[in-house]
Each structure stands twice: as C-alpha cells, then as structure tokens.
Symmetry: C5
Subunit: 355 residues, 5 copies
C-alpha cells in the first residue's frame, strides 16, 4: 500500500491572506545576516548581531547588500520588511517557499523571487527559493539556509578594480541573478549527462527493472527545472521594458545578457524534455526487442524438435504390424531422415534471418 502522505496546505489555510507563514522544511536555529557595504573606494564586510543593525543602511550613499538567511525567523523578517517599507504581501511571499519565480515592481523597490537549483550528493535535484529586493542603493536577499551560489560575487566585491564596485545596486542585483542563472548551466548539463547515461544503458540493452522509474524521475526533474527557469524570461523582459528609475539604462544590456542565457537554457531544457520522452519509447522498444529475441529462441527449438519428437513417438508405438521396425537399416534411415529435417529447418531459419 502507498504510504500516508500529509497535506501541508491544510494547516495553512486557516490564516488570513497575506499573513506571513514559513512553509519551507529547513528551519535554521538562528537568523544569520551578512552585509557588504561598498562604494568605488571602500568595501566593508560584516556579520550582524541583531536585526536592528540592518536598519542603518537604508539612507547611506554607499551601496549595500544585506543577505538574510533563515526564513523561519518570521518576527525578524517582519521587522526588516517594515523598516524597508516592504508590502505585507511581499513579506508573505518571502516566507512562503513554494512561490513561483516572479517579479513585482513597486514605486520605490523591485521584488524578485527566483529559485536556486543544485544537485545534492545523491544526484537529486534541490530547489531553494531566494527573494531579492532592489531599493534605492541597497539589495536585500532572503534565503532559507546559509550557503549559496554567490561566492563569486563576494570575491569580486572585495576586489578594488572590479566593474561591480563602480556601478550601483542595480548592477549588484544583476550580478546576483547572473550567478543564479550561471548555476542553472551546471544543472542543465548534469541533466544532459544523466539523459545520455540512460541512453547508453538502453542502447547496451541492460534493461534493469527500475529503468522506467529512473526515466519517470528524470521526467519530473525536467519539469521541475522548466518550472524554475521559464518564468525568468518574463521577469527579465519586464525589467527591460519597465524603465524603472532604479535600473540605470547602461545596466539594461547586462540584464539582456541574462535574458539570452535563459532563452538558451529554455531551449536546452525543451530538448531534454523531448529526449526524456523519447527514452520511454526507446525503453518500450528495447523490451519488445528483448521479447522478440526470447520468442525466436523458443520458436527455433520448439519448431525443430516437436516434429522430430513426433517421429520418435511413431516408432515407439506398439502395433503388431509396423514393417519399418523390422527393416535391417530402419533405425539408421530414420536418423538420416531426422537429420535432414533438422538441417532443413536450420536452413529455413537462416533464410528467414532468425539465426
């Protein structure tokens, strides 16, 4: 019997709409906030002790990236949201980790939800939601747990000569999204490798019993990745078209670059999808082929020996008058006949290409 599953939504729907509820499955013990405050001539990296310390960066001239980890600490998240004037619905979206990637454009900030994708050590795909808020000269990022794909961005922030230090928070937002999208390539390629591995197994004819399970899981993974990546196309094109005051005109072309990447990824994923669908066909064909082979062996053996056994049966009968039984060379002649039949059959199968 199938195991009992719990319905996690049932408990949530007793809430007021827009109430902030953490729906993820990875609560952290404490909130962890790290901050990069930087301008062209300095960079200050710090880890905050309390939420309140994060309030100071709102009206500075420098650019600030506040990275908040631990979405289960609802009260703290709420405090930050209030200080930075975030709409209650946005706060709810941040905490609800089953959001679809989307963009909400407000007058004084832009809110983006994306999914970070990676394969864990068991080669299972993992999806972590990340929420990004771009304000006047700050970027807030909200993650479920520590550990992310931004180490590369951090390193570039630390370097004095990087482009990232000279440009504003809109470029920082771009750099973060770009880092996320860059990781999609790894996921996409791993997916491609998995498909090719399965193909090879199928072509080698090793029809293990759980192959159909693996193919189905691959199907689901492709659908999951699709679902995480496809909405980004719309997100980026809304950034491009919106001409929001927070996005500098010269940053737009960087976002366009991400757009190109996402289109390219979407293409790949659609091809993977078709390939996975084909794998199932391939699998069915392989099974049929195998069955065919089995049937042929059975047919050959049975078709050859059934008539011969009949002949042997004839001369095992106990009739009083069976003259052949008393011929001098009856037995030898019979062997001759049977060998002729045997060889004739073999020739027939050869011609039919069953051998």
């Amino acid at each position: 019997m199938a195991k009992k599953r719990t319905n996690k939504y049932k408990k949530h729907i007793k809430q007021s709409p827009g109430s902030i509820v953490y729906t993820g499955e990875n609560p952290t013990e404490k909130l962890f906030i790290d901050v990069f405050d930087y301008a062209i001539d300095f960079v200050k990296e710090s880890e905050l002790k309390s939420v309140e310390e994060a309030f100071n960066f709102k009206h500075t001239n420098s650019n600030t990236w506040i990275n908040i980890n631990g979405l289960n600490h609802i009260q703290d998240i709420e405090k930050i949201g209030k200080h930075y004037n975030l709409h209650p619905l946005i706060m709810a979206d941040i905490a609800n980790t089953s959001q679809r990637p989307k963009i909400d454009v407000y007058d004084d900030y832009i809110f983006v939800i994306l999914k970070m994708l990676y394969y864990d050590e068991n080669e299972d795909i993992k999806i972590e939601q990340i929420s990004l808020v771009l304000g006047e000269n700050y970027v807030l990022s909200f993650q479920e747990i520590e550990g992310d794909v931004f180490d590369n961005v951090r390193e570039r922030l630390r370097l004095a000569n990087g482009r990232i230090r000279t440009l504003g928070a809109d470029y920082l937002l771009y750099a973060l999204i770009d880092a996320i999208v860059d990781h999609y390539y790894i996921v996409s390629e791993t997916m491609g490798n998995k498909i090719e591995d399965l193909e090879e197994i199928l072509f080698n004819g090793e029809l293990k019993k759980d192959l159909s399970k693996q193919i189905l899981n691959l199907k689901k993974e492709v659908l999951k990745i699709r679902r995480a990546i496809f909405p980004i196309r719309e997100i980026i094109s809304r950034i491009e078209k919106n001409e929001h005051a927070l996005i500098q005109p010269n940053t737009i072309q960087y976002y366009r670059d991400i757009y190109d990447h996402v289109i390219q990824l979407s293409d790949s994923i659609d091809i993977y999808r078709e390939m996975v669908w084909s794998l199932m066909d391939m699998y069915m064909t392989s099974i049929s082929n195998k069955m065919n082979e089995v049937m042929k062996v059975l047919t050959i053996i049975a078709t050859i020996f059934i008539p011969l056994t009949f002949i042997a049966g004839i001369y095992g009968m106990n009739f009083d008058h069976m003259p052949e039984l008393h011929f001098r060379y009856g037995y030898v002649i019979l062997w001759g006949i049977m060998i002729v039949i045997f060889l004739g059959m073999l020739y027939y199968f050869k011609r039919k290409k069953w051998l």
Copy 2:
C-alpha cells in the same frame, strides 16, 4: 450493456433564453441567508428569516456580505436579483450550475462565477459553483448548498483588528476568492498524492486489473480541475486591467497575489497532467515487462526439456536393430549426455541474462 443515461439538457431547451432554471442536483429544502454587516467599528452577524430582509443593505454605509444558499428557490433568488438590479442573464447564470468560471463587468457591479473544489469522503472530486456579486458596498454570494470554504473569512470579520474590517467590499470579494483559491491547493496536493500513490503501485509491479480505470479517472479529474482553475487567470487579469470604480487601487495588488497563486496552481496541474499521461505509458511498460518475464520462464523450461524429451523418445522406439539399447552403459551414458545438454542450456541462458 451500458446503462441508459438521461440527457438533462433536453428538458431545458424548451425555455426562453435567459430564463432562470436551476440545473444543479442538490436542491435544499429552504433558502438560507446569512448576513455580515460590518464597518471598522462594528460587525453584525445575522440569519435572515425572509428574502425581503436582505433588501435593506443596499444603501447603507457599512459593508455587507449577504450569503445565499439554495439555488433551487428560484423565486427568492429572482426577488433579490431584481432588488439589486441584476441583469436577467446574470440571474440565469447563477441558477445554471454548469457555468464556466467567468467575469461579467457591469457599470454598477461586477459578477464573478467560480468553482469550489473539494474531495468528498470517497476521495471523489466535487465541484460546487459559487456566484459572487460585488456592488457599491456589498457582496452577494450564491451557493448551491450550505457549507463552504469561508469559515476563515468569517472569523477574521469577527475580529476587531483585522485588515478586512478596515477595507471595503472589494477587499471582501478578494478575501472570498482567495479562500476559494486557497482550497485549490488542498485539492492540487491531494491530486499530487494520488498520482504518487499510483506511481508507487506501478513501480512495485502490483498490476491490479482496474489500474487503467484508476488512471483514466485521474485523467478526468485533472481535466476537471484544469477547467475550474484555468479561467480564473483571465478573470483576475480583467479585474486588474479594468480599473473599475468598485475596485480600489490599493486592493489591486491583493488580486495580483491571487493571480500569482492561480498561475502557480496552473503550473502544478499541467505537471500533474503530464505525470498522469506518463502513468499510462508506465502501466503499458509494466504489462510488457510482466509478459516478458512470463515468456522467459516458458522459454527456458520448454527449450531445455523439448530436446531432452526428443532424445528419450528416440530410445523409446521399438526398432529391432538399435545397438545403443544393448550397450552395457547405454542408459548411464545417455543420462550423462542429457545432463551435459541441460547444463549447456543453463549456461547459455545465464550468458543471455535470462536467468
């Protein structure tokens, strides 16, 4: 033979178009109306004795939610409709429970038809139509039977400090739609669980005979849910774009939040759809696999014993001159030969990976 089905439309078409006919299958004994009259500083909950009592709320300053249960009481429904100036076609739509979800925007009210979805105790999907009318400062809701998904909304109305009390009837309409959409999540998740249960059964190879029936039913359920949910996207986006005087600008973003939810649900349902389609393939593959296994056993047994039986048949013949029969160790040697053949066959099958 298939049972005789009745064609319920046949009787209706003798009607004038726009005439109000109840087409549902759940008539109630009496009309049941409950009313929430509220403003920021008070809330009055009441159950009405007669339809006429519902007329008083049209021109009050407070917000009012009039919830009418029992669509078979046509005359009463009609009276309310007339008092609130509803178009005859709308009255017909309310009573006709097989409507598609839709929105009709009139100058002085907005009319929305939605479907409430839930699983009954037999895990069969149930669909109940609900019609909502948003007027100046009232919301009318028409349901087929008592019992709905709005208990959460009621509770929040009763609380003095909720956002819902401070905002207008447009927010109430949002809250009702949101409650309906929230319940879709439960349905969607139950559907997901059902699919996973079937998958597990298929992977475990328990090919019960009615599996294809179950898969087909699942298919139908997915299509039904799709049909209930997909049109909502258009409904919400028409509310958003319409800039109707009845919808306050600051409520719009709440509707946008529903829109995001519906998009997310649509995504899930499309994935479920693909999964259910795959289940059928999976089932076919499982059957083929099973057949393959059966064939292999048959082939192995037959292929081993048919030649051996032939040999035994040979030496059961009654020829006068069969020298082997008189050899001292003829019988033992034959056993040896047969055992060699037997082992050779086993080795062959082993190599072919049929064992």
Copy 3:
C-alpha cells in the same frame, strides 16, 4: 476492396467563381417559405405561396422573420437575394452547404453561416447548414430541409408578453443562434454518454472486434463537432466588437451570453477529445492484458507438464539395463517424484502471482 467513391468537387470546378450551385444531398420537391411578421402589439404567421410574396417585408416597420427551406431551388433563392440586395458571393455561400461557420459584415446587413447538429435515429451525427441574414428589421434564414430547432422561438413569438416581441430583429437573430447553440448541448451530452458507454465496455473487458472502429468513429464525430462549434467563438466576438448599427447596444450582452456558452462547449469538446484519445490507449492496454492472461495459462500448463512428460519419456526407453524399471516400488516412487515437482511448480507460480 474499398468501394469507388465519387469526387463531388470535380463537377463544380467548371463553374465561374461565385456562381450559385447547390452542393447538398437533400433536395426538396418545392421551396417552402414561412414568415413571422411581428411587433410589440401583433404577430402574423403565414406560409408563402410564391417567392414574390416575400418581397413585401423589406420596408415595413414591423420585424419579420422569413424562413426559406429548400436550397436546391436556386432560381427562387436568387430572386430573394436580389430583392434583398445580397452580394452574389453570399448567394453562392448559401447554396454551398459545405461552408465553414462564418460571419460576413456588410454595410446594410450581417450574414452568418452556422451548422445545426443533431443525432439521427441511428445515433449518427447529422450536420445541416443554416444561413442567417440580419437586415434593417428582418431576418432571413435559409435551410436545406424543413424541420429545425426553432420551435421554441416560434412559440415565444406567438406569446404577447415575451421579451422577444418587444425587441428588434437583432434580438431575433440572437434567439435563433441561441436555439442552435442550445441544441449543441444535447449533442455534446450525447457524445459524452457515448464515450462513457465505451469506457464501461472497455473496463468490463468485452473486447469486441469492432471496438476500434467505434472509437475511430467517435474520434471523427468529435472532430466534426469541434469544426462546427469552434468558429462560432470568432463569429460572436466579431458581432460584439463590430458595433454595427444593426445590433443594439443592449442586445450585445445577450450575444456575450452565447459566447460564454460556446466557450463552455469548446471546453467540453476538448475534454471529450482527450477522453476519446485515451480510449484508444485503454483499448490497447486491454488487448495487452488479455494476451498476458492467455500467455500465463499457456506458460503454467506447459511449464508443469513438459518436464513431467520428459520423465515419463525416460522410463519409456527400451535400454536393456535400466535398473529403476525393476525396483519393487519404482513406479510408485516415480509418481511421488512427479507429484512433488507438480506441487513445487504450483507453489512457484503462486509466489510469482501468476495464479
């Protein structure tokens, strides 16, 4: 051999384009014209003797519905067309019964082609083309044969108090289209019942040989219905958007109601389509299941008796030295061994769940 089919288009193409040719297969003996002339305070129903009588209604103040049956009477049709200033191409369209549903909007009239659908006594779907012309204050309807879906409309015209008498010819056109669309519901529901009947037959495993034929015919019917219904969506939305002087603003919402119905029907038909496609899969699966069952019986019997027969063959051999043959209890022991093998096999199949 397939029967010889005639190619009915071959004979037509020698015609000038726009020439009026009746392409249907139901010629009537004589043209039959019935007229409803009505206003708010009177209604006059008459059957016309000659085509010329139909000319009088063009410039009256009353509304008139002229219903012409018998499209093979080309000359008469042409006379009416000329009197009412219909474009030659429209006359050609009326007579050509294989038109696609469409709307042509001219300055002083609107021309609509629709399909009436019904099941005949053999449960075969029948399609009859109907052409409607809405003029200043008249509606012309052209049908192939007498007998239609408008009895309901006629009755309402006869009643003094109906909405239809108070409104203009544009409402009459709506009422006629609505009556046609209402009949689609019957067809759609019959189709649904047919599908469910087939499903039940499939689930009960009665795999009659012509099931695939029935499924294919159902497929064709769905495609035919789709083709008749889908274009209506565009027709109605063009009426809505066109703001033609002949359509009163307050009639528009009635057309919108038809639009909703057609969308709903389209939804149903698309679901039917998917269900019919699934039926074929279901049928394939059933065949495979059946084959599986047959194979299992064969395998069980053969697998049990082939080895036993081999053993019996062994002791039917005529070797001089077969000590077992001379044992006191040889025969009994052999029976014992064979029974053990038999039971062992049964147990094996039981465990494999083949029994």
Copy 4:
C-alpha cells in the same frame, strides 16, 4: 542498401545570391507564351512567337494575361522581367521551383507564388509552382510546363457577358488564384477518400505488409498539402489589409471568399492529419489483435494436448510393476479420463471466452 541520392543544392550554392537558376526537373524544349488581351467589348487570344512580342502589352488600356510556360528558358524569362521592371530577386524566385507560397508587395506590382496540386495517374501527389505578377493592367503567370487548371478562366474570358470581362486585372488575378484553390478541393477530397479506403482495409483486417508504408506515404502527402495551402491564408490576408492601389475595393470581397475557402481547406487537412495519425494506431491495434488470435489457438491446442500426452507417456513407461497396465478395462478407463480432461478444458476456455 539505400540508394545513393544526389544533393541538388550542392551545385547551386556556388551562385551569387539572387542569380536566376532553374531548379525544377521538368525542362521544356521551348518557351511557350499565350496571351489574352481583353476589355469589356473585345477579347484577343494569341500565341506569341518571340518574347519581344510580350512587351507591347505593358502600356495598353486593355487588360492582358500573359501566360509563360517553361521556366528553364532563363534568358527569355529575364528579358520579360526586365521589360516589366521586376526585381532581380523576383526573377530568381520564379525560376527556383522550390519556393514556399508567398506574397511580395512592391510599389507598382504584386508578386505571388502559389503551388498547383494534382494527383497524377498513379495517384501520387504532384506539385507545380506558379508565379503570378499583377501589374497596372496586366497579369503575368509563370509555369514550369504547359497544362494548368485555368481552362475554366479562359472560357469565361471568351464569353462576352462574364463578370471577368467587365472588371480589371485584379479580378483576373483573383480568378486565377480561385481556380488554383478550387483544385485543392479535389486533392483534399481524393486525400479523404484514400484515408477512408485505408480505414476500411484496416477494419476488414487485411493486414498487408506494406500498409505501414502506405500510411507513412499518406502522412507525407498530408504534410506536403498542408505546406502548400497553409501559407495562402497569410497571402490573402495581406492582400486584404494592404489596400494596395492595384486592388480595387470591390474586388477585396472576392479575395475574402478565397480566404474562407482556404480556412475551410486548412480545417479539413488538419482533420485528415489527425485521421492519418490514428490510422497508425489502428494498424498497431490490428496487429496486436491478430497476434492475440494466433496466441489463443496455440494456447488452446497446447494446453489441451500437453497434459494428455503426459498421461500417455506415463503408460508408455516400462516399469515391471505398473498394475494399471494389467487391469481388464485399464485402456478404456484411461480413454474415459482423457476425454473428461479434454471436455473440461473446452468448458474452461468457453467460459474464458477464448473460443
């Protein structure tokens, strides 16, 4: 082995783009030009001796249709093109017979490429490209070989009273396109007949070996026809919308009539497409059904006789002590037992509905 195919494009690509190269496979010995020069009061039909004679019709007041057959005579084609000011790319398109149907609108002429479709005597579909140029008061038509679908147009031109003589070159262009589209109906209907023939063969269970080949060929034909017809929708709608000075407003509605026809054809072809796809399923099912039947016969015979043969084998054994062998009625009793088993089996198969 598959035969060696030549790659006809390889030789062309050494050409400058826009160079005029004949790519068809039906070169004619000489260019053949026939001309219809006509106005409301006269018509002059002539066959031209040289290309230069075709130059005179450019600036006449009468309407002229110049029909040029033989696209391999590049130089002559080029001369005409230059005289009538056709763009070099258009000349290249005319000679390249693998163009897709399209329209190019220039200031002083309209260029249309279409495909004539017909079935040859072997019921193979043939496609011939035709290029049409509509100028001030002339139409040029370029065909690969003599023989076309325009005989009907010619006859109407010869008649003094036809509409075609009173209207301009734009109507002539319409008449030519209409003649081409009219022929599509024949092709479409022949296609429909072919599909129904195959269906009947499949339903009658005559599974000839090349059926899958026939179905695949049908598939290809449908795709070819689709490809020839579908682009015409866009061509016509561009003519309609363009409001080009060469197209009179009152001719537009004739083009719209073609548009309706093409939409109708597209519908039919899409239905054919689905039907052909279904044929393959049908074929697979028929094969499975056939296999099922074969299996059942095998199973019945084997299942009945294998146990009986075993019993016979038992009493063919040579044990010294087999008491049954010496019973007075042993042989008769055994026959009785075997007949009981035989009948029991038959009953079992009857109940299983395998007989």
Copy 5:
C-alpha cells in the same frame, strides 16, 4: 557503466559575468586574419601579420571585411574589440561558442551570432559559431577555425562587375548570412536523405539492432538544426523592422529574401521532425510484425504436431488390452488418420490466412 562526463560549465562560473572566456574545443595555434578591402573600382585582399594592422580600416571610405579565425586568442580578440568599440558583453559572446543565434542592435554597429552547419566525413552534424559585426563601412567576422562557407562571396568580391562591389557593407553582411543559410539547404537535404534511407531500411524489414539508436540520433540532429535555424527568423525580422541607419532601404529586400529561405527551411525541418517521430512508430510496428510472423510459425508447427504426438503416445502405451494394436491394418489406418488431421490443420490455417 556510463562513462564519466566532465561538466565544462563548472570551471567557468568562477568568472565575473561578461569576462571573455573561450568555451570551444578547437583552439588554433595562431590567430589568422584575412582582409578584403574594396570599393566599386578596386579590391585588395590581404593576410594580416598582426592584430594592429586591422585597426586601419575603421575610418576608410572603402568597404572592408575583416575575417578573424581562432577564438582562443582572447587578448587579440579583445584588442580588436576595443579598437572597434565593441561592448564587453559582445566580446564575451564572441568567445563563448555555445551562444544561441541572436542579434544585438547598438547605435553604431549591429552584432549577429549565427551557426554554420555542415556534415563531417562521418556524416555527423557539426556546428560552428560565427559572429558578425556590421559597422559604418566594415564587417568583422569571428570564426573558431579556418575554413568556412564564404568562398563564393570571396570570388564575387574579386570580380569587378558584381553587385556586391557596388553596394555597401550592409550588402556584404547580407551576402555572408545568405551564404550560411544556403549551406543549411545542403544540411537539410542530407537530413532528408538520411530519413528516407532509414525509411527504406525499415520498409525492407532489415531490423538491425541499432536502428533505434540511429533514429534517436536523427531526432537529436533535427533538434540541433532546428535550434540553429529557428532563431534566425527573429534576427532577420528585427533587421527588417529596425530601420537602423546602417542598413540601406534597398538592401532590406535582400534580407527579406533570406527570411523567406529560413521560413522554408523551418517548414522542412518541422516536416523532418514529424517524419523522424513516425520512424519510431514504424520501427515499433516492424518489430511487432516480425514477432507476429515468428509466432505464426511456432503456432502452426506446434498446433499440428502436438495432437499427432499425443496420438503416437497413445499407441506407445503398454496396456495389456489395447485391441487396436493387434488390428491387421491398425498402423496403416493410424497413419491415415494422422494425415487427415495434418491436412485439416493446414486447411484451417490457410483459411485463417496464416500461411
């Protein structure tokens, strides 16, 4: 086991976005630059020794085509890019050979990425990326390795009387793109031939084991080609609509010609796609057919000889009282009976059309 694959993206993502990294697999030993400098009255062809020599052509009046081969020489590429004011993101795109075909329109140049397709000697499809930059009066082209599809363009440049010499750099860009697209026709036709070869093999019933592998590879090739060709439609239509100052109005129609070609190619590829999908079905059908044939032989032989063997078994029994054994003509009569059974079976199979 599947071989270990490397994930080439992993190493790249440690880079700053927009950093120039060569991602191809064909590094060349040295950069190779060849230049065509031409105007209507002269042409100068040269091979550059150093990158710096390429700088002189920016502000000349003549048109220049600078063709750079060897994308792994990042520094050199970067120098050229800087001199010609190319945006850093464009430099990155040039070096990243896994770009999707696209166009980026800047104020003073147009950047186009395309894919050159060709089959190598093993009939495997090869894809090489080419980047084109159109500036004031120069075209830069960046290729991974030497050897391209432009020999035809070069030859035309060398000729004094070609159209290409009289027109500007925008026409040169067109000529290059046209040369690339022309080569697609070869690829498309080779693909078509491959499909037809496979079809023929399938129809001849030569079911080699790796056929499904070949079909899958074909599927992948079609998807790859699709991916290379489809985006070009958008590229060209953006060139057409953009009305960029660098593109002369009279060149536009040449681009439109490419557009027609690409649409035509897209059509072909979509048809190929459907055909390849059909091949898989065809293959499955062939396997089923083959199995059917094998089963029939088995069934015929077994069904004929199993009952006969049973009869022989009967008269091999050792009962004391078997009167038939002692009949004078018992043996002969039995042979007669067996021959009758044999012929009866043959007749039955004949009637069933299994023979």
